[in-house]
């Protein structure tokens, strides 16, 4: 059939690639080609992240890798909460600050080593954050966004004004990781574990209930379950990821201060998710891999980098771009062609 270019009856059609269809379920084990098709993206991500410290030139950039992973933890948390459970958190800095200060206190006041402070700060911090966010969970999403926006701004001012917890100087003298490689691989390892854990979680039964909070909260209520309780669970998970990244942060910098409540930690994860592709969980990681080095390069320009993230964010939201990962997944799994209508 000859396609007449002038006919207005053509349209673009997207069809799954042959290899994707052949790979459903157990048939993915059919041959090496199918198995590669399925595992290649994941293997690339894991191998890529693990190999990063080895290829980075110099300590400065190796530190950047650690920071990328910290932001990535926040961004994955944001993506999970926003695109799977429907709650938009505008204050990732809240979790980072709480987790960071907790780890700092545990380390300086009780001399616990990082391997103890990080899990402790994660759990305690997550509980604290969830409790503080509890009042706005039964209400509409706007309130959650407002309250998460406010908390980091407030806490920063309160600490500054009351001059507690080190005031503007912060808490100093915190233990580090004792070795660059430990530091980097600890963070990268946690990121990978968390990423794949959340990925598994959303496909389990309870993951389905959590996704139901966004997609179908009527069904949850009509089935006799309290939606607020599941929202709290989702917030706890995200808060845990945020607090953990905060705890890692203070051990890397060996210092804890109000800058942990800074806007960077709130805005960059959102921008990374939007650029990298929301709803994919790996997209935010890619977004961070792009944005954090760029922001380091822009460090000389001062707060211009925030302007930069903010404008990119606005552009992406307003033009409703799908994000890198979503685009990539689409290209990987489907192809397009013109057909007659």
């Amino acid at each position: 059939m000859i396609m007449n270019q002038n006919t207005p009856q053509r349209r673009r059609e997207r069809i799954d690639r042959g290899i994707k269809v052949r790979c459903q379920g157990i048939y993915s084990l059919m041959s090496w080609r199918e198995m590669t098709y399925i595992t290649a993206p994941r293997a690339a991500l894991i191998a890529g992240l693990l190999a990063l410290p080895l290829v980075m030139p110099g300590m400065y950039w190796q530190r950047v890798i650690s920071i990328v992973c910290i932001y990535a933890l926040l961004a994955v948390g944001f993506d999970f909460l926003a695109h799977f459970v429907g709650l938009v958190s505008l204050g990732g800095a809240f979790f980072v600050g709480v987790g960071g200060y907790l780890a700092a206190i545990l380390n300086t006041a009780w001399a616990l080593p990082p391997i103890a402070t990080i899990p402790a700060a994660t759990v305690i911090g997550a509980t604290l954050c969830t409790l503080l966010l509890l009042p706005c969970l039964p209400l509409r999403g706007v309130y959650f966004a407002i309250v998460t926006l406010m908390y980091p701004l407030f806490l920063a001012r309160v600490i500054e004004a009351l001059d507690i917890l080190g005031g503007t100087d912060g808490i100093m003298g915190i233990d580090g990781f004792g070795g660059r490689w430990t530091e980097q691989y600890a963070v990268i390892g946690m990121l990978l574990i968390v990423l794949f854990a959340v990925r598994r979680l959303v496909n389990t039964d309870i993951g389905l209930v959590l996704r139901g909070v966004k997609d179908n909260d009527q069904a949850i209520r009509a089935s006799g379950m309290n939606v607020t309780r599941y929202k709290a669970l989702a917030v706890f998970i995200t808060a845990a990821m945020g607090c953990m990244s905060g705890a890692f942060l203070v051990h890397i910098y060996m210092w804890s201060g109000i800058s942990q409540f800074a806007l960077d930690f709130s805005i960059l994860p959102i921008a990374a998710t939007v650029i990298g592709g929301g709803g994919t969980l790996a997209g935010p990681v890619i977004g961070c891999l792009i944005l954090v080095p760029v922001s380091e390069l822009l460090r000389d320009f001062g707060t211009l980098r925030i302007v930069f993230y903010a404008l990119i964010l606005v552009a992406f939201i307003v033009f409703r771009s799908e994000g890198i990962m979503v685009y990539a997944q689409r290209k990987y799994h489907q192809f397009e062609r013109w057909t007659q209508v």
């Binding site: 706007v142 407030f154 909260d217 805005i267 404008l311 964010l313």
Partner: protein
């Protein structure tokens, strides 16, 4: 007695901060998180007109208000209208814009304590033994006038009634021929203008600092939540509640706790009566 005086001044200031936000949210359900940024921007624009262009003060003020209103309307017309209806995107987009404006101002060199606006009238007078400067008196008077004019405007003029109609029920307003998108632009313009008005009235009492952009946003939102998102009169009432609460805290506890009061007010409202003083219950539940 001084609590009464300072309380009133503080409350009217809060009301001025909050009215712009309340107007925009009430009309088009847009949470304008760039509100604080517009406030600070208006201050800097006034300073610029006054100092760099050398315009006379009254001209600078009026011009700055107009420019800010236009900027607000343009922001809405070209950016925010595309995310209309998707609440979360509206919040993120307006917040990001506000952030861009504020941090852009900071990067542009508007740092430090040296930027001020002169007061309108120098000097002070005594009210029941307390010295109050004329600027603050003006704030209270003009603030009260603004609230009154807003009431008149929304009850007796065509555009005002259209805005009120949209606030009550958007679909019904559309059926009556009110163009909701255009009205939303108008509302945003008015809201930005009100932010600018608050700025020119209140900034002479201190310095123009970028940080205050965030504080103003927090205070405006706190007032609107306590008053009920979407209710203009509720915002005024809530401003008085929070205003007096803040002054009482300053007198009895110490001045650092002012912001804490605002946060506590939000949390208490959300726990006890989430729809605020005058908010409508249906604001809260997810749609069935």
């Amino acid at each position: 007695m001084d609590i009464l005086v300072y309380g009133t001044i503080n409350s009217v200031s809060l009301a001025l901060y909050a009215l712009g936000f309340a107007l925009v949210y009430g009309t088009s359900r847009l949470p304008n998180f760039a509100h604080g940024a517009l406030f600070v921007l208006a201050g800097f624009i006034t300073w610029f007109f006054l100092n760099s262009l050398g315009l006379p003060y009254p001209v600078a003020i009026v011009l700055a208000m107009l420019v800010t209103a236009v900027i607000g309307a343009l922001i809405y017309q070209f950016i925010l209208v595309r995310v209309r209806g998707m609440e979360i995107s509206e919040i993120i987009a307006s917040y990001a814009l506000g952030l861009a404006i504020l941090e852009g101002l900071r990067w542009g060199g508007f740092k430090g304590m040296s930027y001020t606006l002169p007061v309108f009238i120098e000097g002070s007078f005594a009210v029941a033994g307390i010295s109050v400067d004329y600027q603050r008196l003006l704030v209270v008077l003009i603030g009260a006038a603004v609230v009154g004019m807003l009431w008149l405007f929304t009850h007796f003029t065509r555009i005002g009634l259209a805005l009120r109609g949209m606030a009550q029920d958007e679909r019904a307003a559309m059926m009556l021929g009110i163009d909701s998108d255009r009205m939303a632009v108008v509302a945003m313009g008015f809201g930005s203008g009100l932010a600018a008005l608050a700025a020119v009235l209140l900034l002479p009492l201190g310095n123009i600092v970028v940080e205050s952009g965030y504080n103003i946003l927090i205070l405006a939102i706190a007032v609107c939540i306590v008053g009920g998102l979407g209710s203009w009169m509720g915002a005024v009432l809530a401003a008085f509640l929070i205003g007096f609460a803040q002054i009482l805290t300053v007198v009895y506890l110490g001045s650092h706790y002012q912001m804490v009061v605002a946060l506590l007010a939000i949390i208490l409202t959300l726990i006890l009566k989430p729809s605020g003083l005058f908010g409508r219950q249906k604001e809260l539940e997810e749609r069935v």
